[in-house]
């Protein structure tokens, strides 16, 4: 499959009164056409900042991409101007936000909000735009699209609004869709419907999806690959199967142990104790040291090297280092 996104050693920080928040500290990943990559991790680990950086939508100032590269279809985005980025936003890369109740403008009709991006980017008549809008509403499963176009966001339920947000994101047929916790604000049955919608859309349009979530249930359902973020870094990444069945990193293992499972009834859930490190002055060694049950002296001092378990699967933890293994067995 064709590679459409290549992120390399991305660093993003925010200059605040309290100092520099290093929100993303060297993130790298690729994405192929039609693929779904899930980025998971605790609150504050830098998932949303990573996502916004891909579209260069972080507030600048205080935010800044301080290092690294984002290659979208072989084009470097990091040094593009805002004007150049505007031609990419909504057209090549689209974004869906967490809360459908606030993502739509309360004073504009759904029709206006659906078609304005299309009209901005394509040379298209009002009539054609409307036809396309009706098509999109139909695609995301909104009945009576003709009447619905004239209505305002408050006339829709949360699930409906998220469908509309998805329709807006897809109307210019982007190659990449970034969804930042698209189901977190919805109740469980609606969540399932929206996830099904993602799968169907992906089959129909072959769009690549980056799905940000901290719900491993969602991940299990739709992801092809998973990247686990911790304190601004991807500490483990691999296919869904590899990550769920052979997690490398103690943090990933902790995450998996903290979700309830139907097949292991009665087993105690173990939430991970402690909190992630402060991103003003992240530790130089492994950021998980303070919470890790296997922490060693080396962990605190030096950041662990990457351990490549398979072509796709890697983890960044000292436990898999040859020297440590040798030392432990002796």
């Amino acid at each position: 499959m064709e590679k459409i996104l290549e992120v390399n050693d991305l660093h993003v920080s925010f200059l605040t009164y309290g100092g520099e928040v290093k929100a993303v500290r060297g993130v790298s990943f690729d994405l192929h056409k039609g693929e779904t990559l899930a980025i998971v991790g605790e609150s504050g680990c830098g998932k949303s900042v990573t996502a916004s950086s891909l579209m260069k939508l972080i507030p600048t100032p205080p935010g800044k991409i301080s290092q690294g590269s984002i290659k979208f279809k072989d084009r470097e985005l990091v040094n593009l101007s805002d004007k150049q980025m505007r031609k990419i936003r909504g057209v090549d890369i689209s974004m869906i936000f967490q809360d459908p109740m606030t993502a739509l403008n309360p004073t504009l009709t759904i029709g206006t909000q659906l078609t304005e991006g299309l009209k901005q980017h394509r040379n298209i008549s009002n009539k054609e735009a409307k036809i396309k809008a009706l098509e999109m509403l139909d695609l995301v499963g909104i009945p009576y699209p003709e009447e619905r176009l004239k209505q305002y966001p408050h006339q829709f339920s949360g699930g409906m609004r998220q469908r509309i947000v998805i329709a807006i994101a897809l109307i210019c047929e982007p190659d990449l869709l970034i969804a930042d916790e698209p189901t977190t604000a919805l109740d469980v049955t609606i969540q399932a419907q929206i996830l099904e919608l993602f799968e169907r859309i992906q089959q129909e349009t072959n769009v690549a999806i980056i799905l940000i979530t901290h719900d491993l249930g969602v991940v299990a359902k739709v992801a092809d690959r998973i990247a686990v973020m911790y304190a601004g870094k991807i500490i483990e990444s691999g296919t869904k199967h590899e990550l769920f069945y052979e997690p490398l990193h103690p943090y990933t293992q902790g995450l998996l142990n903290s979700i309830p499972r139907l097949d292991k009834k009665g087993e105690k859930l173990e939430p991970i104790d402690g909190t992630p490190p402060d991103l003003f002055s992240p530790p130089q060694g492994c950021p998980f040291t303070a919470r890790c049950p296997h922490a060693m002296v080396a962990c605190e001092k030096v950041y662990p090297p990457r351990y490549q378990a398979s072509e796709e699967h890697y983890g960044e933890c000292w436990l898999y280092d040859e020297r440590v293994k040798k030392y432990q067995s002796s």
């Binding site: 031609k87 936003r89 057209v91 936000f97 403008n105 309360p106 304005e116 901005q120 408050h154």
Partner: protein
């Protein structure tokens, strides 16, 4: 919406009636009569005059006559200006006052919104601080102080603008500045804070993610939402400007309604006082009504809410 409009209309009539009644009660509660100071006239002449203006009748009869005059928009003759009816005074003075008021409100609204938006977009920048300093000054300096300052500096010392009256556009500049600065400052501050709030909303992020230009985002997505609170306080602003015209007209010797009104209070010219009060309160209540309806048009949620609420 129709039901709501009718309800608001009835409420409006009620409000005017209450204001009219309060004015009547207050007028009657103050001791004395319009003819007290005219020491030259003897008892008989005074009694005659009182009879002519129905002032010898019981308060209830006077009240009834008064309500009738309001309902028919005929406030009767002025006591102190025998050749003029109250309606004459209103039709002569009100257009000038209205002109002053409308120009000032327009200037205040436009400059306030522009200042507020620029300050919000340059949040914490030099322009922001400058704009907000002007705003704080504008709010804290009373219009009559500003008016005297302007006359002193620009007319008397610099001699660039005329001192008083309302005879040409040049004459209108100082009174307008004096009257508009306060409201402008209030509007600027409100626009700024509400704009700042709106700019952090998800739908603005979403608009950016669509690749819209900054101008489209500000005008189409942010401004309409940010102006909502400004529309709500427009009623208060208008009331402030309205009372402000009285003071400003007096200072700049503008022959508007304010002059007659202030004069009529000093002279106890009952028909003029009551006529003007009722006229102005009716005017204000109508404006508030219009503001409310406008709000419904700006914010689609309001209409529904009120329909359901009634």
């Amino acid at each position: 919406m129709l039901k709501y409009t009718i309800k608001r209309f009835l409420l409006m009539i009620m409000t005017i009636w209450i204001i009219a009644t309060l004015t009547f009660v207050l007028m009657n509660a103050i001791p004395g009569s319009p003819f007290n100071e005219e020491r030259t006239s003897n008892e008989a002449v005074q009694a005659n005059l009182e009879a002519h203006f129905n002032l010898d009748q019981s308060p209830l009869v006077q009240y009834a006559g008064y309500l009738k005059s309001i309902a028919t928009f005929d406030y009767g003759p002025s006591i102190k200006k025998p050749n003029d009816s109250v309606n004459d005074l209103l039709s002569r003075g009100f257009p000038i006052s209205a002109e002053l008021g409308i120009i000032s409100v327009t200037v205040a609204l436009l400059s306030g919104v522009v200042l507020g938006v620029i300050a919000a977009l340059r949040h914490n920048g030099i322009i922001d601080y400058l704009a907000m300093t002007i705003a704080v000054l504008g709010i804290s300096i009373p219009n009559f102080v500003l008016a005297t300052l302007l006359i002193q500096q620009l007319s008397v010392n610099a001699g660039v603008l005329p001192v008083a009256t309302w005879s040409s556009p040049m004459h209108m500049i100082l009174p307008t500045i004096a009257l508009a600065t306060g409201p402008m400052a209030i509007i600027a501050r409100l626009t700024r804070s509400s704009m700042l709030e709106v700019l952090t909303q998800d739908y603005i992020k979403m608009a950016r993610a669509k690749g819209l230009s900054p101008m489209t985002i500000i005008v189409k997505h942010a401004l309409k939402n940010a102006l909502m609170p400004v529309v709500t306080i427009m009623g208060t602003i208008l009331a402030g400007v309205l009372t402000g015209t009285f003071v400003i007209e007096k200072i700049f010797a503008i022959p508007g309604m304010g002059q007659y009104f202030v004069e009529s209070i000093n002279q106890r010219d009952y028909p003029v006082i009551m006529g003007t009060t009722v006229f102005y309160s009716a005017f204000l209540v109508v404006i508030l009504f219009i503001v409310d309806i406008t709000y419904g048009f700006l914010d689609p949620r309001v209409k529904i809410h009120k329909e359901e609420g009634n």
